[in-house]
């Protein structure tokens, strides 16, 4: 029997009756949610986790075949929800996790109440009639920079134990390894992320959803937010003043306020 809690390094904050599951994006781990956890843990049970291959997850559980599509990750989200027997989940995903949550909610709608998408994109690559923001060459260029920055990576970095994320005295070594992951896994996750096309799934989302669209995000330009709003039933689009791709880190107050206001009215 697979230990899901250990495999995905599942952590629970707060013990409210209502429940949130927060899923990090490509390149990071559950620590990106620290501001949102603080804001919601008094009212909600907040569940965070690391995808297999990221953060403190069990690297041995990485199966290149299973994780060759977003569905492998969506299954893991469902398994986390099932293991903890969570009901009426408010799922908050960042970046690629939005589409992972969307796929999980389409397949297992009984568990989900809302899908909240932070900087989502159903497809990153431009086509004749769709603006995703990037061309294939841009993504290959990103992979090159990633490879150049993996020179110093070694397998011995992986099993460092992450302490309390609120502690200000996180060691330099730990800081340097934040978001560090096995380069082979990162490469595959990057390919799965950036070459996935989930546009045709949007129409099938059976629950209400919120899109948090940043005003200047090269990974998800404004057009993407409008596209999602147009093609997803019961979707609310909120355009943030925040720029960049990580508003939950760069503009946590605005991000939290928008999510709270959406949840109060929906």
């Amino acid at each position: 029997m697979v230990d899901i809690i250990k495999r995905n390094n599942v952590r629970i904050h707060g013990d409210g009756n209502k429940c949130m599951v927060m899923a990090h994006g490509f390149g990071c781990d559950q620590n990106v949610w620290r501001h949102l956890i603080k804001a919601f843990e008094t009212e909600y049970k907040v569940v965070v986790f690391d995808y297999v291959g990221a953060g403190q997850s069990d690297l041995d559980a990485y199966d290149p075949k299973k994780y060759s599509s977003l569905d492998g990750y969506a299954e893991d989200v469902h398994e986390v929800i099932q293991t903890l027997a969570l009901k009426d989940v408010i799922f908050i995903g960042h970046s690629v996790s939005c589409m992972i949550g969307l796929r999980a909610a389409i397949k297992y709608p009984q568990h989900f109440q809302h899908i909240i998408m932070v900087a989502p994109s159903p497809s990153y690559i431009n086509t004749d009639d769709y603006i995703g923001g990037m061309n294939r060459e841009d993504i290959e260029a990103l992979f090159e920079v990633m490879d150049a920055n993996y020179l110093g990576w070694s397998a011995s970095m992986a099993p460092l134990i992450m302490g309390n994320p609120d502690a200000p005295e996180l060691g330099e070594e730990l800081a340097a390894n934040f978001c560090a992951t096995d380069p082979e896994i990162a490469r595959q996750f990057a390919r799965v992320t950036f070459f996935s096309d989930n546009r045709s799934d949007l129409q099938n989302l059976p629950v209400k959803s919120l899109t948090l669209q940043c005003s200047d995000d090269i990974l998800a330009p404004l057009e993407v937010g409008f596209y999602i709003e147009k093609h997803t039933p019961q979707n609310t689009l909120a355009i943030l003043n925040a720029t960049g791709h990580c508003p939950h880190l760069s503009a946590p107050e605005e991000t939290i306020a928008v999510i709270k206001s959406y949840l109060n009215t929906n």
Binding site: C28, A141, L142, A175, F178
Partner: protein, 204 residues
């Protein structure tokens, strides 16, 4: 802790051997002369521009996905390998940065080291590493091929020997000779097994 500034602080800042930049919400608000000279630009050309505008598309994406979250989460990054675009070319650099700890401030102080030579050395090392791996692969393959071929060549005379041994055993021979032939047969069969094993291993 803040130390007393050296009297020639302005020189230290402007003529420092590395590029120095301060970003406010991602936009350049201070830049030193060293960095401007590398870009061959005037201060006014780049003040209030986004720092990521100086990067190629891969670098821009990398900055958004990895560098910015790291600065936000841990207050600093170091030795990030990026390429700075100039008007007519580009140069590789190591990028290190520290975020301001003051509340309400979104300042990032950056140091940029031009690493053209280091990068060439790195590329050379990588090329050599790839070449060594390639050579090792070729060597192992060549050895396997030789072992495979030689083993096959050795099996033909062995097959003859085994056939002759069977033939001799049907002849009218003394008990002593028969025992010796049995020993010869056992040894020949063992040799045959060993060679089959070599074929199996190298032929995989």
């Amino acid at each position: 802790m803040t130390h007393a500034l050296p009297p020639n602080y302005s020189d230290l800042y402007n003529l420092s051997p590395c590029g120095l930049l301060t970003l406010e919400q991602g936009k350049i608000v201070h830049v030193n002369s060293t960095f401007l000279s590398w870009l061959q630009k005037e201060e006014n050309d780049i003040l209030s521009k986004e720092f990521t505008d100086l990067l190629n598309k891969g670098g821009k994406l990398y900055y958004q996905l990895f560098v910015q979250p790291l600065i936000k989460m841990h207050g600093s990054v170091k030795e990030i390998d990026l390429s700075i675009e100039t008007d007519d070319s580009s140069f590789p650099c190591f990028f290190s940065a520290k975020g301001s700890k003051k509340p309400g401030e979104d300042l990032v102080h950056c140091a940029i080291f031009k690493v053209g030579d280091r990068k060439k050395y790195e590329t050379e090392l990588l090329r050599k590493k790839e070449k060594a791996e390639e050579e090792k692969k070729d060597k192992v393959q060549a050895l396997n091929e030789i072992a495979f071929d030689q083993a096959h060549l050795a099996r033909a005379p062995l097959a003859n020997m085994l056939a002759i041994i069977s033939l001799v055993k049907t002849m009218d021979i003394s008990e002593d000779v028969d025992r010796l032939i049995d020993l010869l047969q056992t040894s020949t069969e063992q040799l045959d097994t060993q060679i089959k094993e070599i074929v199996r291993k190298t032929g995989a």
